[in-house]
């Protein structure tokens, strides 16, 4: 590898030339960015979440700006497993050698298992990310009054069950992506770890809402949506810190990472890698600038490995 090989990162067998990934849903199927950045320089690409069948997604408006962030209610629009396997995945593999991690969504445990089995056969993907934290796919549970049910990873037991089943179905590195919309994220993180997850990734979007006071309507047709951007960074950092202090498996951190400083904050709370989300929309160069920035920081501070970057003790 090149002169920056001290950034080389192996997470549960996913070998990345650097620890800077792009987050699911913010990078399409990869090819959308090919004219703007050198995909080969990314640590890994996580695809838009795919489901068994194609999903139409939510009606517009689907996005709206908020203070230092945005809300989205895309509704997991995606081409579905078949088209993904036939067109999108081969297309992406053709244009880059960067590890591809496929984000998987579903409405039932069985659906997750089916997609996983199909992905096993591709032979070209580096890992699977289970999106069990999408605010747009809800699971009906008896004792909740939440409109539309709960998100899988809002429940410890469902998380355990879902991850266990998928674990049995694959030998691929298994990443589990968690929702921040929970009372205690360490409980969910432990459940996923116990069930056999190789890696955790967090955070998905906190649920939010905005109102357009001129029309007196919710700004999003779906009423609520997921919040992302710098606004959520403090919440993400706190949760990553809580989780890395709780589990032994590596954590991929995301939530408002827009530049090197943001990324460093997450490494200092012991993230194994970081992912850029909406940062890609604002400046497609963000992940590559962060790679450079981290390399620089480590050199300037004579730090040999990312691991040695954690918080210093005392005040």
């Amino acid at each position: 590898m090149n002169k920056k090989s001290f950034l080389f990162t192996d997470i549960a067998g996913i070998k990345m030339k650097n620890p800077v990934m792009v987050a699911s849903g913010t990078f399409g199927y990869g090819e959308e960015y090919k004219e703007l950045i050198d995909l080969d320089k990314l640590g890994a690409i996580v695809t838009k979440t795919i489901t068994l069948k194609p999903r139409a997604g939510n009606p517009p408006p689907r996005i709206v700006e908020t203070a230092a962030g945005m809300l989205n209610a895309v509704g997991l629009q995606n081409v579905g497993l078949d088209v993904f396997l036939k067109e999108k995945l081969p297309g992406l593999k053709k244009i880059t050698s960067t590890p591809v991690i496929v984000s998987v969504g579903g409405e039932s445990i069985l659906e997750y298992v089916k997609i996983t089995e199909a992905l096993n056969k591709t032979g070209t993907i580096a890992g699977i990310e289970l999106n069990i934290s999408c605010p747009n796919i809800r699971f009906q549970k008896k004792n909740t009054k939440l409109k539309g049910g709960i998100i899988f990873s809002q429940d410890e037991k469902i998380t355990y069950k879902l991850v266990s089943r998928v674990r049995k179905a694959t030998k691929l590195p298994l990443i589990v992506k968690l929702s921040p919309n929970v009372t205690d994220i360490t409980l969910i993180a432990r459940a996923a770890e116990k069930a056999g997850a190789d890696v955790l990734s967090l955070i998905n979007t906190p649920l939010g809402m905005a109102v357009d006071v001129t029309t007196r309507k919710p700004a999003l047709a779906n009423i609520t949506g997921g919040l992302s951007g710098p606004a959520i960074k403090p919440i993400a950092l706190r949760m990553v810190w809580e989780v890395t202090n709780t589990v032994k498996i590596p954590v991929i951190a995301m939530g408002g990472i827009m530049n090197t400083t943001d990324a460093l904050e997450f490494f200092m709370v012991k993230a194994a890698a970081v992912a850029v989300g909406v940062g890609n929309f604002i400046n497609p160069q963000t992940p590559l600038e962060i790679v450079e920035g981290i390399a620089d920081y480590l050199k300037r501070h004579r730090i040999k490995r990312l691991k040695d970057l954690s918080l210093l003790k005392g005040r």
């Binding site: 913010t26 959308e32 004219e35 996005i63 909406v278 929309f281 400046n283 160069q285």
Partner: protein, 277 residues
């Protein structure tokens, strides 16, 4: 598609709410087609958070082979466009473009009776139509009529550049302070009435979505093909976020699918669009 830090050549105030921004962007100027847009990073920080999309108004310099500048025309409506007004000649601005699919130019034809083109613009929606009109005028010898709907005569500058192009221009103002008093759709109805529509081979429209819907219906009724240029809230502008969806016919889903305004659009065949959903 390029992301460039482009130099600002000029940022002229036209009226208190409208500005003309000229940017040195040879790569974008070279490939841009009418109907395409650029996604502009307006702030240095998080306020506003997203890039803001603007149609290309014109490519310059005029009549020169090596085009190197793009021109935008923008209306100040909020924080982002307000910040934009603060840019000065010599400043740099980060833009991505050209984005989206532009207008499809009418098929070349020798039949005189089919060579009328109508452009229908509402307010700031004239922007992509000017670039289109230039292309139509420069590259082909077609009769181009432009119907423009504006609030009042303060916005008359919006038709100035069409006049210079020697288009046939008609104006409708809401208050009657310039041209016809009423909606531009009324002008369109007249234009296509009395069998005149048969000489019109294509119509193009851009403006508020209620206007677009009406224009589409009138065009369809008169059997004139119509290309509409849509707007939707955008985040990435390059097809990655699926934020800018609009509903169109004939999809995988029973009777519809969502497509991306930034990628499959912003120009659509009017008959494909499912309005108001």
């Amino acid at each position: 598609m390029y992301q460039i830090k482009a130099k600002i050549i000029a940022n002229r105030r036209i009226t208190s709410r409208y500005y003309n921004l000229v940017i040195d962007a040879p790569q974008i100027a070279k490939f841009a087609k009418p109907g395409q847009f650029v996604n502009v990073c307006v702030s240095k920080g998080n306020e506003p958070f997203l890039r803001k999309p603007f149609s290309i108004y014109r490519i310059g310099p005029q009549n020169v082979r090596k085009k190197s500048k793009i021109e935008l025309l923008y209306k100040v409506v909020g924080k982002g466009t307000d910040i934009l007004t603060g840019n000065k000649t010599g400043d740099y601005i980060n833009i991505i473009g050209p984005l989206g699919n532009g207008f499809v130019l009418p098929p070349k034809t020798n039949q005189k009776q089919q060579s009328e083109i109508i452009l229908i613009g509402g307010g700031i929606g004239v922007v992509p139509l000017l670039f289109l009109a230039e292309c139509l005028k420069n590259n082909r010898s077609l009769g181009v009529s432009v119907l423009v709907g504006i609030k009042s005569k303060e916005e008359s500058f919006l038709i100035r550049d069409f006049n210079k192009l020697d288009c046939r221009v008609k104006v409708a103002t809401e208050d009657g302070s310039n041209g016809f008093k009423g909606l531009v759709t009324k002008l369109l109805k007249e234009e296509l009435g009395f069998g005149r529509s048969s000489s019109v081979c294509m119509s193009y429209t851009c403006g508020p979505s209620l206007m677009l819907e009406k224009v589409s219906k009138i065009a369809e009724k008169n059997k004139v093909p119509c290309q509409v240029c849509l707007e939707e809230y955008m985040a990435c502008g390059i097809g990655a976020c699926l934020g800018c969806a609009v509903k169109v016919k004939n999809g995988h889903f029973p009777g519809f699918k969502y497509v991306r305004v930034c990628k499959e659009g912003p120009v659509f065949d009017s008959r494909q669009v499912i309005w108001g959903e």
